[in-house]
Amino acid sequence: ILILQTSCLKSSKSNTIVLSGLSGSGKTILFYQLRDGSSHQGTVTSMDPNNDTFVLHSELERKGKVKPVHVVDVPGHARLKPKLDEFLPRAAGVVFVVDAQDFLSSMQAAAEYLYDILTKATVVKKRIPVLIFCNKTDKVTAHSKEFIKKQLEKEVNKLRESRNAISSADITDEVELGVPGEAFNFSQCQNKVTVAEGAGLTGNVSAVEQFIREHVR
């Protein structure tokens, strides 16, 4: 259920974290791990965003004042991409979830999605930090985060050259990425881009929680 949030725009520091990534990468599981500490009975492809404000499950036992976090899990299905634009402007951070196990077949699509996020005007202007979370590392055939990082950089570099701004929703919103003439790597982005790994199903999500605590103060 979409809980309609009337976001108080008075506070300058937002506490919204957006979970994005391709369909099937594990965002909804991650969402429920962060909130309840368990993945319950499993998930199916999401049709609507999951939207909730809560205190991170692992922080529930902490004494003292713990600030609740507003986490939004945006469906990864290509047809629901416009939904991302609703939540991105208010984000304090973006977690881009990548399926480390099934990486090679979805590499191009993942890079394209990531490229779209990194070139949105709001992301660049507000320097919204991005965490690339390599999910499903509990599986034996999962790739390492270094490999994924390098591959994504290569793909984004290719996109930079051949980019034709096909995504028709908001074409005028794009920004140039990286340094022209040099191969792209994430340190060239104006906003901070980091890579981490973990596994949603087993509960190994500490990297994400760290990221959240760092950027939601």
Partner: protein, 588 residues
């Protein structure tokens, strides 16, 4: 018998599962269901088959839940719809947004299952199901006051098309989505569940209603008679020269050539600014969350709003059955929803329809042709694009425009003249090739297009050309031998992109064209994964003002994205489809 019954939220969390987490269904039909049906706006029809399984589902729009039942396709379980409806009612009682596990529901479910099974196996004479009545093809159904009458009429119509031999066949009618028979759930709900909400809106039909559909000027393409293959006269050479009044300076290649045509930047690279529709203000959205929710939406509330919306879509040249299906699926998603007290029904219907349209028109996969071309270049093979379509839609013209655009992005192009039927087709392409200064592979007329294409691709590989654009002859969708020839071409050459060229002027015929084309291509395909239409090129867009509905019909029917839009007759008149502006125009 029932393999699985799943209850999940629209956000994707599974709330309860019959089979339990242990039994993972082979092939994950649920995900396939969500991706191919529910997200494509086809949620009005209630059945779906995936491999050996058949699925049926229902929504609870007020709570945002989906109930899906999965069973083996060969077993025709008649009680599934009843069961789903009963489960929905029961679950709504115990549902709590904060709770995530509902284990005690298992017991209750077992009871419900037994009840419903018993009811179904009882002789149906008691409940006077319209089911057996519907089985008699073409039998006139009494027009009741409720949706049941409308449903009967619709089934009678549909049974003209497919043979319905009783209820079991209904599950088998789910062939390509566009032809899927629209079975509402209320046909079964009539049996003993009179009180439940009737899902489908009343089939107003062309008979009653103030808006007489015959008066709508449909831009129908007149069905052209099948083309006979006339033998081309053998002595065409002399007549060619006689009719050739072109400037001697334009003749022939070689030295003294004019420089390549440069008409400036193709419109593909120009961005369009879109005005956004008025979104809900912060004020009204705040009020909506504060004020208590009022009555839930019922069938009768949605009726008038949906009817006017459907008529509006049809005046914008959307095919009639597409408009119908869209309105039904919007109705299905809104039934039972609670409205805030400050929102009108028509505005929520409008928003739902807008969302559905954006979702349908947004491409399902990347349509970045340039990137695919670069990937193919790395592989060392040329990227092959085949242009198919009926007669006279603008294939050759738009092929030249695409070539011009590619040239501007430093991609080397070769043309392949595989239209070996129409007089002047090869010369036309030759002229374009000369003006754009690109090589053309042609073998004249009366050759097998599949072989010509193969030769062209080999030539292009030899010359290290990046892209091969293959022009084919126009053909009507029900011309069997020509469709066979086309699929032979595609099977033999395995192109990277099959582009269906359709004109924006077409009306209801768009549905027929696209279904038949993609069906024929899929049926006659010899590859393990059937090749079908990969993308749509919409032409003559500048001639239609605001009647942009053909784009919607085509995308809905085929699921393929619109990759290019032709908006004029010169080289630069090619642009991208702007989803937001189309949706705005459709709903104006």
């Amino acid at each position: 018998m029932l393999e699985e019954l799943l209850i999940f939220t629209r956000g994707g969390l599974i709330l309860w599962s019959l089979a339990g987490a242990a039994a993972a269904l082979k092939g994950s039909p649920i995900d396939a269901l969500v991706r191919s049906f529910l997200l494509e706006g086809r949620s009005a029809s209630a059945g779906f088959t995936h491999g050996p399984h058949a699925l049926r589902w229902t929504y609870d729009n007020a709570l945002g839940l989906v109930f899906v039942a999965v069973y083996r396709r060969v077993l025709h379980l008649l009680y599934v719809d009843d069961l789903l409806v009963a489960v929905r009612a029961e679950f709504a009682r115990i549902y709590n947004p904060r709770r995530v596990s509902y284990d005690e529901f298992g017991e209750r479910f077992r009871q419900l299952h037994l009840e419903v099974e018993a009811r179904a196996s009882r002789p149906s004479s008691v409940s006077a199901k319209p089911g057996p009545a519907a089985s008699s093809p073409g039998a006139p159904q009494p027009h009741g006051g409720g949706g049941g009458g409308g449903e009967g009429e619709k089934t009678a119509d549909e049974s003209g098309k497919d043979d319905s031999d009783g209820e079991p066949s209904r599950q088998e009618k789910h062939s390509p989505a566009a032809d899927g028979s629209v079975n509402g759930l209320e046909e079964n709900s009539h049996a003993g569940h009179g009180g439940l909400v009737v899902k489908r809106e009343e089939e107003g039909g062309p008979n009653n209603g103030a808006f007489n559909l015959e008066n709508i000027k449909k831009k129908d393409k007149k069905p052209r008679p099948g083309r006979d293959k006339k033998p081309v006269p053998k002595d065409k050479k002399p007549s060619e020269q006689k009719l050739d009044y072109s400037n001697p300076a334009d003749h022939g290649g070689g030295a003294g050539e004019q420089t390549a045509v440069n008409q400036g930047k193709s419109m593909m690279d120009k961005d369009e600014a879109v005005r956004s529709t008025a979104k809900d203000g912060w004020f009204s959205s705040m009020f909506r969350s504060i004020a208590g929710s009022n009555a839930e939406l019922k069938e009768s509330d949605l009726q008038p709003a949906l009817k006017s919306l459907k008529d509006r879509l049809m005046t914008k040249n959307v095919a009639e059955e597409i408009a119908e299906k869209l309105c039904e699926s919007v109705a299905a998603s809104l039934l039972g929803k609670k409205l805030g007290s400050f929102t009108r029904i028509s505005s929520s219907v409008q928003t739902a329809m807008e969302e559905a349209l954006v979702r349908i028109l947004t491409p399902r996969r990347s349509i970045d042709v340039l990137r695919d071309i670069h990937a193919a270049k790395d592989r060392g093979a040329p990227y092959v694009i085949v242009f198919v379509g009926v007669n006279g839609v603008g294939k050759s013209t738009n092929l030249a425009k695409v070539a011009y655009w590619l040239l501007q992005h430093d991609v080397s192009v070769t043309l392949a003249a595989c239209d070996t039927f129409r007089s002047g087709a090869v010369e036309q392409l030759r002229t374009h090739a000369r003006r754009l200064q690109i090589p053309i592979f042609e073998k004249g007329y009366e050759r097998d297009p599949a072989v010509v294409a193969k030769g062209a691709i080999q030539e292009a590989t030899r010359n290290k050309s990046d892209v091969v654009l293959v022009d084919t002859a126009g053909r009507m969708q029900d011309n069997e031998p020509l469709m066979r020839a086309l699929s032979k071409l595609i099977n033999l050459n395995n192109p990277d992109l099959v582009l269906f060229v359709g004109e924006a002027l077409v009306g209801n015929d768009a549905v027929d064209q696209l279904t038949k084309f993609s069906q024929k291509l899929t049926d006659l395909s010899t590859a393990p994964t059937a090749r079908s239409i990969d993308g749509i090129l919409l032409t003559k867009f500048d001639t239609i003002d605001d009647k942009v509905g053909a784009a919607l019909s085509m995308v809905y029917v085929s699921g393929a994205p619109v990759m290019f839009v032709g908006c004029g007759q010169s080289y630069t008149d090619l642009k991208k489809l702007n989803v937001k502006s189309i949706v705005n125009t459709l709903l104006e």
